[in-house]
Symmetry: C2
Subunit: 595 residues, 2 copies
């Protein structure tokens, strides 16, 4: 389907927005009048620019509150509308959005609304302009898509149709299938936005919390499937406004927006068994191949890995890169990243088909990452996530993989053996939603649960994304608005966290100082439930503990270096969480350790 985006989705001036939309690969745009009014370019100049950029102007949105009013008011509205038809002719736009009256309507009569819409349609027809009438969820008399459609049919003009907006349909709790009652030919335009599940008044929800498809909780795949069944053949357009999107670079937001549409169309086509609209299918992770810590000087990181019981598995044959392993858990230490403090800069995933995983990511607009490889080295396909984190895919068996490129490692295994349990990614406030969409669309992870963790500097929102089987778990942490991104970490899961902690202490690892009050609280909460002596042992060693009905969680943290650290965890029984209740204590202890 053709793709379009409302200029109101982006920050900046109209000309910048149009360039960004074209660069992101949109076919067309909806122009919001407010953007045109603030622009110094004439409508003719905007028209010419769009033509040069290969963007169609799919819709123009110039006013509110046309219909459902008394005749003198309508005469004034018509005068205003006519002036906007002039602008549309200058712009070369042929579709006018008319939203149901939410402000000034005083006449609750479908006949009147239809007659007034018909009058404007008749004015527009000789100019070759069509009208799309849309029910706003907070329209005074018309707030339902089928109601708007009834009025359109009543008006009975060939150049009058309806516009559907997923927000206005789904925020009212309608089943998306209701739109199948509308004749596809009568749907002149479709606007899409997602939104988080919030229980609040619909106008504020709409104004402040819309999201791009794949970032929220709306059943948009079903919506698009139903839309396809109506026979609708027009563009899918994004109309998203919220409190964060304008904070980011316009080019980045446009690319991100385009990704959300590609993902949505693919999902809907897959659900319906259609091939049109599909991209290369998802390649869910079968395992975590490695995590990369990058930075200019990683001596401290390597000392910590050694103290944790990682084994040094060799240096790369041709690059300043070293490999450390703890059983099947591999951490690459990459000193090629000269420009930065130590950080979690990349992850490698094992998939069935690495080329397909890469092709999907490229189709979803992720930029390719080039790394210099030499003859005989494995060339892992890789892309950059929106925040720059690099994602690599491998489909070779271990014995044939890049691992063989590392030489000079010790033979003996280290004291720690395990797998990578989860990779915790911290983002700044305005990067969170795009990280969620990237993880869903490119990494094929699903959203698990979200929680708010009170840290010493504000609430940290944590959204877990994972494969169903738990092979790849990515808790995504969102910083408070004015804070830096939270430090990231990689958690190694082993069979015996107590033994691992003892060994690490013996090797000199500095542990986070955990207050006695924390252990007193553990006694109060769990003293009668845990095996005797366990809590004393946790206190002695400085381990964290959590417990759910079906299991237990033991964990501890190595010191933060740059903005990355390593956690060691043990899951007992069916414990499936991440020790979120301990996060405030951990955050306070890290703050103290870094002060």
């Amino acid at each position: 389907m053709r793709t379009s985006i409302a200029t109101v989705c982006l920050a900046g001036g109209l000309v910048e927005k149009l360039h960004a939309c074209a660069a992101a690969g949109f076919d067309g745009v909806e122009i919001m009048d407010a953007d045109l009014i603030a622009a110094h370019e004439s409508p003719e100049e905007i028209r010419a620019l769009c033509a040069r950029l290969g963007l169609s102007i799919d819709m123009f949105q110039p006013f509110r509150d046309l219909e459902g009013v008394d005749e003198p008011t309508f005469a004034r509205n018509l005068r205003r509308a006519e002036a906007k038809l002039d602008v549309m002719e200058r712009l070369g736009a042929d579709l006018l959005l008319v939203c149901s009256n939410a402000g000034t309507a005083t006449v609750d009569d479908d006949e009147v609304a239809a007659r007034q819409l018909a009058a404007l349609a008749d004015l527009a027809a000789p100019r070759g302009i069509r009208l799309a009438y849309e029910a706003l969820a907070w329209g005074r008399y018309v707030d339902d898509p089928l109601h708007a459609y009834r009025i359109v049919r009543l008006a009975d003009r060939p150049n009058l149709g309806t516009c559907l907006d997923s927000f206005h349909v789904l925020s009212r709790g309608h089943d998306p299938r209701v739109i199948e009652e509308i004749d596809g030919d009568a749907i002149f335009f479709v606007q899409l936005s997602d939104a988080p599940a919030l229980d609040m008044d619909v106008l504020s929800w709409s104004r402040h919390h819309r999201l791009f498809p794949g970032e929220g909780a709306f059943p948009l795949t079903d919506f698009v499937s139903s839309l396809v069944r109506t026979g609708y053949a027009g563009p899918l357009s994004l109309e998203v406004f919220n409190d964060t999107f304008r904070q980011t670079d316009v080019v980045r937001t446009a690319a991100h927006a385009r990704r959300s549409l590609t993902w949505l169309e693919d999902r809907a086509a897959a659900a319906d068994g259609r091939s049109e609209g599909r991209i290369v299918g998802p390649q869910p992770a079968r395992g975590v191949d490695f995590v990369e810590i990058g930075g200019a000087d990683l001596a401290e990181v390597e000392r910590i890995l050694e103290q944790l019981g990682f084994a040094f598995a060799g240096r790369h044959r041709s690059k300043p890169v070293r490999l450390w392993t703890a059983g099947a858990a591999r951490i690459i230490v990459n000193e090629q990243r000269r420009e930065r403090e130590p950080g979690l800069t990349g992850l490698g995933l094992t998939v069935d088909d690495a080329a397909a995983a890469f092709a999907r990511a490229r189709a979803l607009g992720a930029p390719q990452v080039y790394r210099r490889t030499y003859l005989g080295e494995q060339d892992l396909p890789a892309v950059a996530a929106p925040d720059g984190t690099e994602v690599f895919w491998s489909d070779r068996p271990e014995e044939a993989s890049w691992i063989g490129e590392f030489v000079g490692g010790v033979e003996a295994p280290g004291a720690l053996s395990g797998v990578i349990d989860h990779i915790n990614l911290g983002y700044r406030w305005h990067e969170f939603d795009e990280a969620v969409l990237f993880a869903g669309a490119v990494l094929s992870l699903s959203t698990e649960s979200a929680s708010d963790v009170p840290g010493p500097g504000g609430l940290v929102r944590s959204q877990v994304m994972r494969t169903e089987d738990g092979v790849l778990r990515v808790p995504i942490n969102l910083a408070p608005p004015t804070a830096a991104a939270p430090a990231r970490h990689v958690a190694i899961r082993c069979d015996d966290a107590i033994a691992a902690a003892r060994a690490a202490r013996a090797a000199g690892l500095p542990f986070l100082p955990i207050p006695d009050n924390y252990y007193d609280d553990l006694e109060a909460r769990f003293g009668d439930m845990v095996e005797p002596g366990l809590l004393a042992e946790l206190r002695e060693l400085g381990l964290f503990y959590d417990r759910e009905e079906d299991g237990e969680f033991l964990h501890f943290y190595a010191p933060v270096t740059g903005d990355v650290f390593v956690e060691v965890v043990e899951r007992r029984g069916g414990y499936d969480g991440y020790g979120a209740s301990n996060a405030p204590v951990r955050l306070a202890a890290q703050r103290l350790a870094q002060a």
Copy 2:
């Protein structure tokens, strides 16, 4: 009344929080268990610190979900509660908060709840510990303060009372007077928070949007008046959490919190005609004495003032400070502020009693500002607002005021003559609420209206505060979370903005470039309503225009210097707004001019 604050209101570690509470002048604190658990100091050490700081520990809040459960669950809950009674003895805290069960309750029976509360009360009694039972607004079976009170009476224990929280009472839409049905002796504790009027689920509203008294829309004055009528004699305590307070310095937040309680107690006492709790009464502004623009180099500011038609009214006898006037509008240009770019750094207000205005501000915790004055100079009393803006008061007639200290000005008036219409203050995201409280409590302004203005970098929230008569109008603009504070401006109201614009153009003032599209839109909206030729004149001169039913607004902007600029406005008829609909165009034009 005694004042207290929950440690959860503040950022940082427990020890920092306690120091900040003491510095702000609170009498006591409520300690949240999570703060204690994350602290490295033992309960005994915290107790000793509070004693040294002169803070009583008024309440301890260690767990949730005690009552309304089956007997085996209750036995476990009691075990956990007993461990917390041990902690309270170590802390020296004698009041335990028990919130109504919102998570695990399965037994909807007041008798059971009462019996279980009584059991804990009996355990606590020998230790000299009392219990305060509070109805959470989202409690499973108990969500109403009178219901909690009925259960307390049913349990009938001398050491069991109730805790009232204004949020839980007022968020449910209860009339504050319902609490007068509770015997004051049975009210063991009172927690206060304000909140904006939002239509959303009460749990999210409570978690993310609580405010300090005076920042929101709750009838807290009535709440406190009703509370006084019950005979309650305990402390007023603040329990406020939201997404911004933790972003600010703990000392500043504590001082701000304390101000909110002083203001609230004063308001309630004034409403009830009590003298206890009063501070010096408000001194509403009778006029704007001056606005000060400060900075290291203000040559450009002065050139602009001259081009605008201000008259140079002299240099200060002893300081690098100059005065410019446009009729009754006075702008002081102060180059003593060497450390900064040009900005709106101060304002002077005319009041009936400057000493009283100053004393009130000091009682509300605003720090005094000292300026060096010499013999024969007027020593204006002044304080600093939380963001550093200085506020001066004067009660002398003009001929006896500081104005006489400026010498060497030109005799002839400038081309511009008017008064200061409004002073627009921009704040960063996390400074907004405290700015609103400061303007309300210290400047005695009331909240008028709020609107969201889409700027090129995000939504700018604008909250107008003013005196009833409009002598002092202060629109407060809130930046999007990741943005800098919006530029501030002072608007001069004159009788003929067109003439003022012509004169300023003739004098060489660079005008903001306003797009033709803007004037085309004015034609569309108002072409049939305005006097002939007006719109053409606006277009020619580059003026903005707005219109309401009862009047018109003409305005234009001088260039931004540093982060301050001057606006010239003309109000025709009863127009009472600020041209908010033009703000997006103005913001885009300013962005362009500064690019």
